[in-house]
Symmetry: C2
Subunit: 351 residues, 2 copies
């Protein structure tokens, strides 16, 4: 019997609150209007970039809890992570909140990793409220993985920009109170509730890519493997979903996923209708400058901002979100190692 | 109502297999005989220390799965972590195994963090078999957090030695087959089964220590907070347990925990009878050289070796294990930050 990688949530916990925050570039980007807030200055008033990132994550986590109508002392656990060595953004954020803390590391796959385990804690009745989050910051990631910004080095067109962004979701056993909202045409619309239906834990897949400026290629096979395992485990076709969104493959990785899915028998028209990638959506296409966004905060902010809001208004009913991670370390490329990829999927439903 | 930090496992999953591996120094130490294997050469035949650590962790994980009588393709999830930037040991270990992977970061608290979430996955019937593990290596940690070994720098007596060690436990919904074993007196003894009864998720507590050579002091308050919350949540006294073991506080941290517990009303005689610290047990006391062991592999190898084997033979019936983590990063001390501490507790029963 084939091992299932997908966990089904019988009680389908609610995403009762969410918050997305972005930096200056993200606020000005195509999805900027879906952010709950964006920075006018990416330092966020802090003395170090690491503290700026940590503060963004704290804002997202605290705001998601508040939007879900909960107090910090009602939260049973906080699951979060980031790209920094030893999860500095998350650890220092957690220091300021008195919430039991579980640190996650899945590189840019962290948001869905935290969502799966958070949903397990609520669905299994271990906790009534769990908050999950992830962050990244261009200025912390550049100096940690590549070069200090002051160096002003050039980047090849295949390189992605680490998003300055964070997102957080509150997962609850009970639905939040009913709310309505005026839509663009001035009509009053009842907001849907978003529930976590299932999650698929990914395996590490290393296609042998050694170039840290080719992250999309390194992560795409893991994303495809997780999507196909999810569909096989649940007996669904890709057209079951209104939206299938990978985390941060960027323009190059998105093309690879599309080609692989087509090879696996998914119709081109379905791929074109439902599939997209947060890394390819977050910035205006400018392939001279970069190949799209990356970083834990990329998919976290797109899922908590654009996707969540479109599910609340009912424009997207069923979504499969797949954050994708490149599990290289600060020293593994220097030791000649290739880049292992991973991707975890979460199925969300609006009703 | 006070928020509970403790999760009760109704189905009490089984630790159906465990494996502890140590380096040369650990093999020669007071607990060496409880290790399942120890290295003759800490490089483990690999070209970099990071690969040596990763290989130790892979040995522990694969052996725990085999000892539990399972194949890799029967394992629903693997939860592991280490101290290295971006969990290099775990990520590269996971690349070689085809098991869905969830990376954990809790510094040296990782073993119990992984055990709690692994037990939740099995107890909640999301998976029948989950493997958990953690590792550390003196040579990777020294160069990452302090100085390259070649530098030959001096260490103050309060500094702890990062253990070269790894441990792994297989958590299963069903008990392993009954086994017996000849004890030291030559008698045939039926081996007990070890079950996970509950877990307590810790909060981040930062006592303001800024000296990275004073890890025990930085982590001790978090350990005490988690122990006291566990006892309050479960309505137990510390004498409920035959053994209460913290992760890697070393000699100084152990003294602080003892004093804090006594302040909290625990009788000195109970503390002396049941409490100890893996970091203070793993090496022969030599306070001129160091203040005991540390690192994720310290508590992982002591729990998977010494403790697990003594539970299997029934010498220890009830144990509370508390891995403790210092959430500093490679750059946070250079930015003048103090060291946040965290600790997660797991209650084990032999029956």
């Amino acid at each position: 019997m084939k091992r299932r990688q997908t966990l089904i949530f019988k009680n389908r916990p609610y995403i009762s609150g969410a918050y997305a925050i972005g930096g200056l570039r993200e606020g000005e980007g195509p999805l900027g209007k879906w952010l709950d807030s964006s920075l006018k200055d990416d330092s966020y008033g802090e003395a170090t970039w690491e503290k700026s990132e940590s503060r963004m994550l704290k804002t997202a986590i605290k705001s998601a809890v508040r939007r879900g109508g909960k107090r910090e002392d009602e939260i049973g656990a906080m699951l979060s992570g980031d790209l920094l060595n030893q999860l500095m953004s998350s650890s220092f954020m957690a220091r300021d909140l008195h919430i039991p803390f579980l640190g996650m590391y899945g590189a840019c796959s962290t948001m869905t990793e935290a969502l799966i385990l958070g949903a397990v804690l609520v669905d299994g009745k271990y906790s009534d409220n769990v908050v999950t989050g992830a962050s990244s910051h261009y200025c912390t990631a550049e100096r940690q993985f590549r070069m200090p910004l002051e160096h002003g080095n050039q980047r090849p067109p295949s390189a992605q920009m680490t998003a300055t962004a964070a997102g957080a979701m509150l997962i609850s056993s009970e639905a939040e109170p009913a709310k309505s909202q005026t839509d663009e045409a001035g009509r009053l619309v009842d907001l849907k509730r978003v529930r976590v239906e299932s999650g698929t834990i990914g395996k590490v897949i290393d296609p042998g890519v050694k170039d840290a400026n080719q992250m999309g290629s390194a992560m795409a096979p893991a994303a495809v493997d997780t999507i196909l395992n999810h569909l096989e485990d649940t007996g669904r076709g890709m057209d079951y979903y209104d939206a299938v969104m990978t985390g941060d493959l960027g323009f190059i990785g998105r093309e690879i996923v599309e080609a692989f899915l087509e090879d696996a028998g998914v119709e081109r028209s379905v791929i074109e209708r439902v599939y997209d990638d947060c890394g390819a959506m977050i910035y205006a296409p400018d392939r001279e400058k970069n190949s799209g966004g990356s970083g834990c905060g990329c998919s976290a902010s797109v899922f908590c901002g654009y996707l969540y809001k479109n599910m609340k208004t009912g424009k997207i009913r069923r979504a499969l979100i797949i954050s994708t991670g490149a599990l290289l370390s600060t020293i593994s490329p220097m030791q000649g190692e290739s880049i292992p990829g991973i991707a975890h999927a979460v199925s969300l439903e609006a009703e």
